[in-house]
């Protein structure tokens, strides 16, 4: 039975084909999938912020910060039997919804999220094979674990499949 699994803000969900991982209404958040395309298992992290400034590690919600979420997702997939040689990543999100004329770093949170995510993927040597990031639109994302297709829906510019 095909299950549709919701991944809310700050969550990480892992599953296998034919399930679909979904996150609705993403703005500056980044949805990042890691996928083993041979065994068809993968996971989606709904990342909110690039890194954690607090030192209290035990209280951290794993999916919230890129610097925790991506290594955590990677290790969980390895534990589930994924092979890192078959693994690739796709990501979407990281929008700037509001156009402020500001030099405030916090405002660029969307691009900081996607930059940090890219950097972490490089560190883990996972290829990022496709991305739909930036811009000023909200996205709803669906990752089909059967096909590895990442479906991105927006209000203004329709559907994009990467």
């Amino acid at each position: 039975m095909k299950k549709i699994i919701q991944v809310k803000m700050g969550e990480i969900k892992i599953s296998s084909a034919p399930d679909i991982l979904v996150s609705n209404g993403m703005g500056s958040c980044v949805g990042l999938v890691l996928y083993d395309n041979k065994q068809k298992i993968g996971g989606l992290a709904h990342i909110m912020l690039p890194y954690c400034e607090s030192s209290k590690n035990n209280e951290i919600q794993k999916g919230k910060y890129a610097d925790h979420a991506i290594p955590f997702l990677f290790n969980q997939l390895l534990k589930k039997g994924a092979n890192r040689k078959n693994m690739w990543a796709k990501m979407a999100g990281g929008s700037q919804m509001f156009a402020f004329d500001s030099e405030n770093e916090m405002v660029r949170i969307g691009s900081r999220n996607s930059e940090k995510s890219k950097e972490l993927l490089e560190q883990l040597s996972i290829p990022l094979i496709a991305a739909d990031v930036g811009g000023n639109r909200g996205r709803t994302i669906q990752f089909a674990l059967e096909t590895g297709e990442f479906i991105i829906k927006t209000v203004q510019s329709g559907v994009n499949i990467i």
Partner: protein
């Protein structure tokens, strides 16, 4: 981060909301040069995560005006309007125009109303607390509720905190429009507001009254 507000504190915030809505109706009437009626606002203090659900789901399209609050009680102010309310509102601003899409002029009008309404609410907060908070320039976005809200909130670095939510229904003749006003205080700001109203949490710590 305030998790459990006492009933007295919620009442104090309600009062701020009431005064603010009253100011807003007056300001709107002046801006539009016509009589604006107002229903008694519905005021709640809620956790952030409940907002998209309350507004009809994460994918529902909403118009949002975001302003930053600077001063003693810094934070963000958000105004949300559903699409049809926005069109109702714009038809009052531009009685001569048929509005089919949201262009630069319409965006500018929405930003202006955000400015006016935020000023009205900030005025209420300033008067009650003796603070001198001011607002930044407004910014407009129209997209999925989830995307707009989370981005607006992440920009202030607030997650997992409570927000003050004020739903006010304004009407003019047979047209009405609902505005959802949110004050999203930065960490520490809500405490400052409550303290200066004289209902700070320390003396109200009553473990038996949780929730």
């Amino acid at each position: 981060m305030i998790k459990n507000l006492t009933p007295l504190q919620v009442d104090a915030l309600r009062e701020v909301g009431n005064i603010g809505s009253g100011n807003a109706a007056t300001a709107l009437a002046q801006f539009l040069d016509r009589k604006i009626d107002m229903k008694v606002p519905d005021i709640k203090v809620l956790p952030l995560e409940e907002l998209p659900v309350m507004l009809g789901g994460e994918e529902k399209v909403i118009a949002c005006i975001l302003l930053r609050v600077l001063g003693e009680a810094s934070g963000n102010i958000l105004f949300l309007m559903e699409e049809h309310c926005m069109y109702n509102f714009l038809s009052m601003v531009f009685p001569q125009r048929k509005i089919y899409e949201i262009g630069e002029l319409e965006k500018s009008a929405m930003k202006e109303v955000g400015n006016i309404l935020a000023g009205s609410f900030l005025n209420a907060i300033n008067r009650i607390t003796n603070f001198n908070c001011i607002q930044s320039l407004p910014s407009f976005a129209m997209d999925m509720a989830g995307a707009v809200l989370t981005t607006a909130l992440l920009q202030s670095g607030v997650t997992g905190s409570d927000v003050l939510f004020i739903e006010t229904k304004f009407s003019e003749g047979d047209r009405d429009f609902l505005t959802n006003f949110f004050l999203v205080p930065d960490p520490g700001s809500l405490e400052k507001i409550l303290e200066s109203i004289g209902v700070d949490s320390h003396e109200e710590d009553n473990p038996g009254k949780d929730g």
